[in-house]
């Protein structure tokens, strides 16, 4: 049975007509055309599909769409505001913390979730918080550097 499910996607209310058992990843990519979130394994092992649900990083391939009714979802497309890149995005560019770019949206969203939960993480905390996100091109060290730089930038902004 099709049902209408509503939630906030990148600050806007959206409704989809679905069975409810579809994965959030499928709904975001196929029904809502936000293809920045990637399919990497469909098993929650790689983190390419990471998005934020109510500010917590989650694997969208493992979440049923009926479980996000009324919640706030943020994908990579919703991260920059008013045409200006988010500090994490800027920092990923500055550190060139990517190669093929396929894991990058998931990395950035996981990092954002991590920094919302802990604005001043140590290097060790960043590593353990990012551990389940995989990058085959081998940008791990640069990603950690980028997250450290972004944390500093974000904290500066909060103080102002």
């Amino acid at each position: 049975m099709k049902q209408s499910i509503s939630f906030k996607l990148n600050h806007e209310l959206v409704s989809v007509n679905v069975n409810g058992e579809e994965s959030l990843l499928t709904v975001i990519r196929t029904y809502l055309d936000k293809t920045g979130t990637k399919y990497g394994c469909g098993l929650g092992d790689c983190g390419a599909c990471t998005i934020l649900i109510d500010n917590k990083p989650q694997r969208s391939c493992m979440i049923l769409v009926e479980d996000v009714a009324g919640k706030e979802i943020l994908t990579i497309e919703g991260l920059s505001s008013n045409g200006s890149l988010h500090p994490i995005q800027k920092s990923f560019i500055a550190h060139d913390a990517l190669q093929c770019g396929f894991c990058t949206p998931g990395m950035i969203m996981n990092a954002y979730g991590l920094l919302i939960g802990d604005p001043n993480p140590t290097r060790e905390k960043i590593i353990s918080g990012m551990e389940e996100n995989l990058c085959r091109c081998g940008s791990y060290n640069r990603i950690v550097d980028a997250i450290q730089t972004a944390a500093k930038e974000m904290n500066k902004k909060i103080k102002l």
Binding site: E21, K38, L98, Q99, L134, R136, C137, I143
Partner: protein, 711 residues
């Protein structure tokens, strides 16, 4: 003899007439200043191993200076994360005298870009650079001629800075490329050998430039083959057997009636279900029952090495010098060992994907492929269509590493689209990826070394099973040596193919482990032993740079070990020194630090070279410590990232990359070389740390503990 420097390139047949089909091609490109020629005109590239002589004569556009002052750069290469979007833009910008940020890369589009056999073998910088530089230098000369006409002065009176032509001594007289190009369409073939810049005059080549495609990738706007959405498109799921190589006997699709709107596609061994919702296609495909005839398993991941040894007898001598018996006689110590390396997956985070549609009699496709032109040929052949009726479009590739040159998914997607008469998207699941990836072959290497009482190597016997000879030409001076290759491509239980520096990982692991074992037997320090026995000066210099950067003499902490490995790949010499910590009770290895020194000739983008080196080392750590395809015949037991571990954040050590300063020479390969030394350096560092000599990749805790038990 091949010229050693780009500036020594020479050209012939430079003024071929333009034929009518070529004029049609040019119409597609629009206005501006377009430089065209065939690679055949570049004499150096006649020996370009990967293209056929016909390809070399293909007439191609290489760049177009547009009326808005931006420049389109055309190349048949693709971007899969290796950074050529940036490095190719750099060489073009250098010769054209424009900002690197004014260049748009048009890549891998089979209707617009020059033919290219494939993006592999770390060839892009080595072979595309000279062509683009020549085209850009030619375009610069055309623009200067136009400016000379505009100002009524001679070419010598003019200078270009950042896309603007100035009259020397009167900079108030200036005109931009955009203004010079306005309203014009000038198609220029090469008329003479273009004047290329000397390295001392470089402003952009050799400078670090951040990846030009980074912004598209951090905002999620970069498009990959699975991100294309077409009107009326359906998603396909292929019904797969459990065992690789199974043959379809019978299909029962009666349960499909439970799903509204699904369609069954059956074309020979290919059975698929399509639906406009990918999850319904997937669920429905699971309900299609196929009876398969499964091949009998002949080997598993433990017995495979014996199997290869037993079944491959034919061999060829690759290199031979001196006399092996004499080598044995003069050696004081003989050391014999076998080295083993399992199958490895490419494991790109993007699985094989393709989106395509037929319109009239033409097929258009976006595919995650390292070989768009090869895909075009495969598709044309599959459907018996002319090449020009197949169009592969530009798209980002989410990692390749040699795995995306076979294009099975592209053919499947096109067959399904043809059958269903609908636009189709096919994205392989991770499980399909772990079955239809063309894995790097397992390898066995039998090695004998002999060393005299002065610590000089006198004998080297190297029998390679299934790893190829790439990079195995001896750079150690050993008077009596023989390298043989034993191979049979049909012996493997599933598809195999190229994997970042094919085979050179296995052979370098074997050679460098054995050199270290030999050094240890003589009691000579591993660094000193190598320097004493190397015959290649470049290699010695590279090793010294690595040792200096690493601090080879530094005191080791408790439980830590250092390991060296040397290798050669794609024209680049590599020396890696790794430091690891080994927990003797658990066998767990923690990589601490990796130093990599390389001589890769001219560094076009030193920053990009560093990224590639770091990436190769990180990927290599996975292969050295964790990655091993588990299988029983064609039944894959490694099916996802839980049972095929790759390197992660926590096991990536500090990585330092240093390069020999060699700007005056040709650029060499950068994408692959570093990875070849990781296995050997890690195995040697583990031995140094705890005394466990593990002759089999990956060096797992279990193998370390076993080696410690058996001494």
């Amino acid at each position: 003899m091949k010229p050693d420097k780009i500036t020594e390139l020479h050209f012939d047949h430079v003024d071929k007439p333009i034929s009518s089909d070529r004029r049609n091609f040019l119409k597609k490109l629009g206005g501006g200043i377009i430089v065209v020629f065939s690679i055949g005109e570049l004499s150096l590239l006649k020996s370009w191993g990967q293209n056929t002589s016909e390809d070399l004569l293909n007439f191609n556009a290489y760049l177009r200076v547009k009326e808005d002052g931006r420049v389109d750069c055309y190349t048949g290469k693709i971007e899969m994360g290796q950074g050529v979007t940036t490095s190719l833009a750099q060489v073009l910008a250098e010769e054209l005298e424009v900002s690197v940020y004014s260049i748009d890369m048009i890549m891998g589009d089979t209707e617009l870009c020059p033919y290219d056999a494939g993006t592999w073998g770390s060839l892009t910088t080595r072979f595309t650079d000279p062509v683009l530089r020549a085209a850009a230098a030619e375009a610069r000369e055309i623009l200067i001629d136009l400016a000379a006409e505009h100002f009524g002065v001679s070419d010598e009176m003019l200078d270009v800075i950042n896309g603007t032509v100035f009259v020397k001594n009167d900079p108030s007289k200036n005109i931009t490329y955009a203004a010079l190009t306005k309203g014009k369409k000038i198609v220029q073939t090469l008329t003479k050998k273009p004047e290329l810049k000397k390295p001392k005059d470089f402003k952009i080549i050799g400078k670090p430039v951040i990846s030009l495609d980074a912004e598209a990738k951090v905002t999620g706007t970069a498009k990959y083959s699975g991100d294309i959405k077409l009107p009326g498109m359906v998603y396909a799921t292929v019904v797969r057997p459990k065992v690789f190589g199974s043959k379809k006997l019978q299909v029962d699709s009666s349960k499909l009636s439970e799903f509204e709107g699904v369609e069954l596609v059956e074309d020979g061994n290919l059975v698929a279900v399509v639906h406009q919702d990918p999850e319904i296609a997937n669920k429905a495909a699971n309900k299609v029952k196929i009876t398969w005839e499964e091949p009998v398993a002949k080997a598993d991941n433990e017995t495979i090495f014996q199997f290869l040894d037993k079944n491959i007898k034919e061999n060829k001598v690759f290199e031979e010098e001196g006399n092996l018996k004499a080598g044995r006689d003069v050696s004081e110590t003989l050391i014999e060992a076998n080295y083993f390396d399992g199958y490895k997956a490419h494991a790109s985070i993007e699985t094989h994907s393709a989106t395509c549609y037929f319109q009239d009699d033409k097929l258009t496709m976006w595919a995650s492929s390292q070989t768009p032109f090869g895909t075009r040929e495969q598709l044309a052949k599959t459907f018996d269509m002319p090449l020009e009726k197949v169009h592969l479009k530009q798209i980002f590739i989410g990692g390749g590493f040699g795995g995306k040159i076979y294009n099975q998914q592209a053919i499947e997607a096109a067959k399904i689209a043809k059958f269903s008469s609908k636009p189709v998207q096919l994205v392989w699941s991770r499980r399909e990826e772990f079955m239809y990836d063309r894995f790097r072959t397992a390898a066995l290497i039998k090695t004998v070394s002999g060393v005299d009482s002065n610590g000089k190597l006198k004998l080297w016997e190297f029998d390679i099973y299934c790893a190829g000879t790439r990079g195995t030409k001896l750079f150690y001076g050993i008077p009596n040596n023989r390298t043989r290759i034993f191979n049979d491509d049909n012996v493997h239980p599933f598809g195999t193919g190229a994997w970042r520096a094919p085979g050179n990982n296995s052979t370098t692991f074997a050679r460098e482990s054995h050199i270290e074992t030999t050094a240890f037997a003589t009691g000579i320090d591993a660094l000193e032993f190598r320097l004493d026995n190397l015959k290649n000066e470049n290699m010695s210099a590279t090793l010294k740079l690595a040792a200096e950067t690493f601090g080879w003499e530094r005191k080791k902490q408790e439980g830590h070990g250092y390991g060296i490995a040397l290798g050669e790949d794609a024209g680049t010499t590599v020396a890696i020194i790794a430091e690891v910590h080994v927990d003797r009770t658990t066998g767990k290895v923690q990589p601490i630090r990796v130093v990599c020194a390389q001589d890769m000739g001219q560094l076009v983008n030193p920053h990009g070279a560093k990224l590639q080196t770091e990436g190769g080392i990180t990927m290599g750590l996975g292969y050295a410590l964790y990655e091993d395809i588990a299988f029983n015949g064609g039944r894959m037991e490694s099916r996802n990232f839980k049972n095929y571990e790759i390197a992660r954040f926590s096991n990536t050590p500090k990585i330092e990359c240093v390069f020999i300063d060699n700007m005056d020479s040709k650029p060499q390969g950068g994408g692959e070389p570093a990875i070849i030394c990781v296995g050997g350096a890690i195995a040697n560092a583990v031995f140094d740390a705890c005394g466990a000599r593990v002759n089999r990749m990956p060096v797992t805790p279990q193998r370390i503990l076993e080696a410690l038990r058996h001494g």
